[in-house]
């Protein structure tokens, strides 16, 4: 079935304007309701470290569900068949779940932190901090860009307005309600956005399913699927989609400041229920939306202009009536806005706390008023940059996988730095740079894999499998079980993976990044006779504008590693 054969409909210009005005007007109203004439710099970054379960879990869910994840899940369903959405959404959900034990540890050692990079400064020093902050900035700008792209694509397909008009309106709307109150506005508006998204998913998926033919489509459309696409245990889906995401499970959570920000904002005893609820909410929503891609595959739908990012809007315009199409429109805007405002809040926090607060003014001399100004200017500059990049319309799924793998280089050094006192600043920095240096040629197929180099990549990938599973286990079960699980996983993978894994460059690039950073970091640290006193972190990090100051300022007590 071609896109022309399917009866597509659009929202009229006035209806589109009304919906956008309703959505952004509502969020702006919520933001104004909580705004203060004199915002507090700490509140702008973390809302006082005392958010309750309802707001925190809703915000975590809304932030993690971005419009791009909806599009990407449907793309996975369309490309890899019935298991595709699982291989996108399940692992994405586990990113939240697997980070929570580490989150509890991070919060315990740094209860008053604003960013993860700030904690790295207190633990190691400037280079570690700036590497983590730099990767966080990269991730948030890419996330912001891809959400604007999703908004532009939505507007272009569902309304008479153009892609460019769409991205400009989305960017302006998000910036408007986030600019004054920062993280506080982001978190509160997440509630309305999450309710809109989740409510829409509950209604839209069954409606599209029955409008598209109901169970009968699985019989009439079965010939549209390859054997791999119709197999729930498809190796294609696992190796191309699922496995790189499993490898990225911890990387996304470590590399994403939006998660860290909520970790530092929620009341400490509510971290576990917040993360578990968000895991289930994200997983069910994103896998559910991915079913639209599976349905499109069974129906033989061809993506408009060959662009798989058009799949979800195409399904909506074809099978939803006018009212539900409006609901769908709000759902996608809710998904993109909730993540985009979090990215703006994350970027502003990094510039306020990591760049200005610690590297320009110094913690002692940092002026909260200047910090707020820097935070707001950052939001404006980041929005302009993301708009510029969005005009290039990059592939969302490729971006996600690339950044996730890049973050893999940071996972072991960051996690080890919170548990193992022997890790030094030099070990952190060198291991991360070494991992990135090897990741890039492997990921972009710049190495001759039919030579012994391919064998080395395979061996490192096998080690990477052990590292990934070992780290995942470590969070929940501790060191000994993690060592066992990681070692057994590597041994089981070795006979199958060696001579084979290098063919999957996305997966092997990511695994090699884990392996190299782990090996280098370990080898550079284990002989260190000094052990870091983790209690120092709590003393080195405090609020910027409250009466509570760290016992000793960082400037006077710089890490010596």
């Amino acid at each position: 079935m071609s896109s022309e054969e399917m009866a597509a409909q659009q929202l009229s210009g006035p209806v589109t304007i009304f919906l956008i005005a309703l959505f952004f007007g509502g969020t702006l109203f919520m933001s104004i309701m909580i705004s203060k004439k004199k915002e507090n710099a700490d509140g702008y970054m973390n809302a006082g470290h005392n958010i309750g379960f309802g707001i925190a879990a809703t915000s975590m869910t809304a932030t993690w569900i971005w419009a791009s994840s909806m599009y990407a899940s449907a793309t996975a369903g369309y490309t890899y068949g019935i298991s595709g959405p699982i291989h996108y959404g399940l692992w994405g959900a586990l990113m939240i779940l697997f980070i929570y034990p580490f989150g509890r540890r991070i919060r315990a050692v740094a209860p008053r932190a604003h960013t993860l990079a700030e904690v790295m400064y207190a633990r190691h020093g400037r280079s570690s901090q700036l590497m983590l902050a730099g990767s966080n900035v990269l991730g948030s700008v890419i996330s912001l860009t891809s959400n604007f792209i999703a908004g532009g694509a939505l507007v272009a397909m569902l309304s008479p307005f153009s892609f460019t008009q769409g991205i400009v309106v989305m960017a302006a709307g998000v910036l408007l309600y986030t600019l004054w109150s920062g993280f506080r506005a982001s978190v509160l508006t997440d509630f309305a956005q999450a309710m809109a998204m989740l409510g829409a998913v509950v209604v839209i998926i069954p409606v599209v399913f029955y409008a598209a033919g109901g169970p009968g489509m699985f019989e009439t459309g079965a010939q549209n699927l390859t054997p791999q696409q119709s197999n729930f245990f498809s190796s294609d889906a696992f190796l191309n989609q699922g496995a790189p995401y499993i490898a990225a499970v911890l990387a996304y959570a470590i590399g994403n400041q939006t998660i860290a920000q909520r970790l530092f904002a929620v009341r400490e005893d509510l971290i576990k229920p917040t993360f578990i609820t968000a895991t289930i909410g994200y997983g069910a929503t994103v896998i559910g939306i991915g079913m639209l891609g599976v349905m499109a595959l069974y129906l033989g739908l061809e993506p408009m202009n060959g662009d798989v990012n058009n799949l979800i809007p195409q399904m909506a315009t074809t099978f939803l009536g006018p009212i539900l199409l409006c609901v769908f429109f709000i759902m996608i805007i809710g998904a993109l806005a909730s993540t985009a405002d979090s990215d703006l809040a994350a970027l502003s926090s990094i510039m306020m706390a990591d760049v200005y607060g610690q590297n320009v003014a110094g913690r002692k001399k940092a002026d909260p008023k200047t910090m707020l100004l820097i935070g707001r200017v950052t939001m404006i500059v980041a929005t302009a940059a993301a708009l510029y990049f969005a005009s290039g319309q990059m592939s969302i799924l490729d971006l996600l996988v690339f950044v996730g793998a890049l973050w893999g280089a940071l996972v072991f050094p960051v996690i080890a730095s919170f548990y193992w006192g022997k890790v030094t600043n030099v070990a952190f920095t060198v291991s991360t740079l070494a991992a990135v240096a090897i990741f890039i040629p492997v990921r972009f197929e710049m190495l001759p894999m039919d030579t012994p180099v391919g064998l080395v990549v395979d061996v490192l990938s096998v080690v990477g499998v052990g590292v990934v599973l070992g780290l995942m286990s470590f969070g929940f079960f501790g060191l000994k079980p993690a060592l066992w699980i990681g070692s057994i996983a590597a041994l089981i993978t070795a006979p199958f993976g060696i001579g084979f894994l290098h063919d999957y460059h996305v997966l092997s690039g990511s695994l090699v990044a884990y392996a190299v950073s782990t090996l280098v970091c370990y080898l550079m640290s284990f002989r260190n006779k000094e052990s870091f006193d983790f209690a120092l972190i709590k003393k080195r990090i405090g609020s910027f504008d409250s009466e509570e100051e760290p016992e000793k300022a960082l400037d006077d007590n710089a890490p010596k590693h």
């Binding site: 509160l188 409510g199 289930i280 909410g281």
Partner: protein, 43 residues
């Protein structure tokens, strides 16, 4: 997979989402009412 299983596989997700929707809404309302009771802003 049989037609029945595939149908269940597609429709189970909105059901789970409905449960999460309920828990999140209830949690938010609790936070809101607690903040009102204590006379402090919700965030």
């Amino acid at each position: 997979m049989s037609t029945l299983l595939l149908t269940g596989y597609v429709l189970i997700w909105p059901i789970i989402v409905a449960f999460v929707f309920y828990f999140l809404a209830r949690g938010f309302l609790k936070d809101w009412s607690r903040a009102r009771k204590d006379g402090r802003p919700i965030i």
